[in-house]
């Protein structure tokens, strides 16, 4: 019965094929460069670090034996918890000023996942130019504003020229959000977030990456996303721009009443509610919102 047979095969459209290949090349470039850097670092510092670690262990062991009788000799030699594991940063000091919290996040990134920020900015610029045809704006040479988050779960960057701002998720996605005009005002749609269902962000982890960014509205000093799973994510703020990314290893709750709440801090505090539906976020992996 022919009813259950699929239509004949087709070729991939040229443009789509080129984009796929480009995306794969970008991913391969990023990982191989990071691995190379990591290998180089390990080669350069491996032996001295190992020697230093042995010396430190001996010194600490001696101290413990002398001071406490050696009862605690086992220590806590486990690896530090990777940054952003499961997206839960509840252990973070919420009372610290925002910029300090942001620094904490940057410090806890997995060094193997770190990407040269300039490389990430350039990727975002190239993608924005390609996707939106920037009509000759000089973003390619000299972005007037930029900001990058790399917390070990992904990389989100913001770049701007004189009139527009673009946000990209460079990893695990390779997407640019639609350009927003730089006008200093705030409306709910400015905070729309893209979502990518993803895997292998962290070893063995599958979940959803939510990300957004843009220009900080006039008078605003920061902004916070409150997700329906109870997680709140403070945006990183720098040079008049902001960016946010949150990796959740569980599905984000959805439903008619599921909302993401965005709160603006500053001289004119405001709260925006974003319903969780296809109009407010994208789950297509290679398209912006």
């Amino acid at each position: 019965m022919n009813d259950l047979l699929p239509p004949a095969r087709r070729s991939i459209p040229e443009r789509g094929r080129a984009l796929m290949r480009e995306r794969l090349d970008e991913e391969m470039d990023t990982t191989t460069a990071a691995e190379r850097r990591w290998d180089g670092t390990a080669r350069r510092f491996g032996v001295p670090v190992a020697v230093a670690a042995v010396a430190a262990a001996l010194a600490i062991g001696g101290y413990l034996l002398a001071g406490t009788g050696g009862d605690n000799g086992g220590g806590t030699g486990g690896d530090p918890d990777p940054a952003g594991q499961g997206g839960d940063r509840s252990g973070q000091d919420d009372t610290a000023p925002k910029h300090q919290r942001n620094q904490q996040e940057e410090r806890t990134g997995d060094s193997r996942a770190m990407t040269d920020p300039d490389q990430a900015y350039q990727k975002c610029i190239d993608r924005a130019v390609r996707t939106f045809d920037l009509r000759g704006e000089p973003i390619k040479q000299a972005p007037t504003g930029r900001l990058a988050i790399d917390d070990g779960t992904g990389i989100t960057v913001v770049v701007a020229n004189s009139t527009d701002v673009y946000t990209c998720n460079v990893k695990p996605d390779a997407a640019v959000s639609r350009g927003n005009e730089l006008d200093g005002t705030a409306q709910a749609s400015d905070f729309s977030f893209a979502l990518n269902v993803t895997s292998n962000v962290l070893p063995g982890a599958t979940g959803e990456m939510m990300w957004a960014g843009g220009e900080l509205p006039e008078g605003a000093t920061g902004l916070t996303y409150a997700f329906p799973d109870g997680h709140t994510e403070e945006a990183v703020v720098q040079d008049g721009f902001w960016a946010m990314q949150y990796f959740s290893d569980r599905w984000l709750p959805t439903g008619p009443r599921a909302r993401v709440e965005v709160t603006l801090d500053g001289t004119d505090p405001q709260t925006f509610e974003l319903p969780i539906n296809a109009d407010t976020m994208c789950n297509q992996v290679s398209h912006g919102c």
Partner: protein, 192 residues
């Protein structure tokens, strides 16, 4: 599945270890079209198939240390990744759109150089086929997709789905029986 794992003798495994970038470039050139059509047959959307194919190769690259070679081919391994990627998309869409109480309609992104009408027609036809096939349990649907539509042999389908060959055979048999009950028997033939 250890018998299918890559070995030092496998040219693909060796190339991926020594020249991973070149190997994946070749892999993409060789198999992207096959995976693209497979993803279309899982989604009834050419547009989604592009996204998913791209994701399949990204995921393959990210899991290149767990490559599985079947005979001399990596295609069953790619089919396995594609099956998971498409399944995940189906779950996500179902979940999101159920919440909104409406059905997703992918918007076709026409390529001027393309046979737009033909592609729209394909999508309509594939959606009708999937409406029937989707009545099957997911694991039987996967086997139908790989063995019947993609014409994989049982061994390759087993590698793709990481299940024993006998399970492929029994799932296919059950799928055929179920479909026969609701429709006239489709072209699902036993392989020799």
């Amino acid at each position: 599945m250890t018998e299918h794992r890559s070995s030092a003798e496998s040219p693909w495994a060796a190339e991926i270890r020594t020249h991973p970038r070149q190997a994946f470039g070749r892999l993409f050139e060789r198999h992207s079209e096959t995976i693209y059509n497979y993803c279309f047959r899982q989604t009834a959307s050419w547009h989604a198939a592009e996204d998913l194919t791209s994701t399949v190769f990204l995921e393959a690259w990210r899991s290149r240390d767990r490559v599985v070679v079947q005979g001399d081919s990596l295609l069953p391994w790619l089919y396995g990744i594609a099956t998971n990627v498409c399944r995940r998309r189906r779950r996500t869409l179902a979940r999101r759109w159920r919440a909104l109480d409406r059905l997703p309609r992918e918007v076709a992104q026409p390529d001027p150089a393309d046979d737009v009408a033909g592609r729209v027609d394909d999508e309509r036809r594939m959606a009708a086929v999937l409406a029937v096939i989707d009545r099957l349990p997911a694991r039987e649907r996967d086997v139908v997709g790989l063995v019947v539509w993609e014409e994989l042999d049982y061994q390759s389908a087993a590698t793709a789905l990481d299940i024993p060959v006998g399970t492929v055979r029994s799932r296919l048999s059950r799928a055929r029986r179920r479909l026969s009950n609701s429709l006239a028997a489709p072209h699902i033939q036993e392989q020799q």
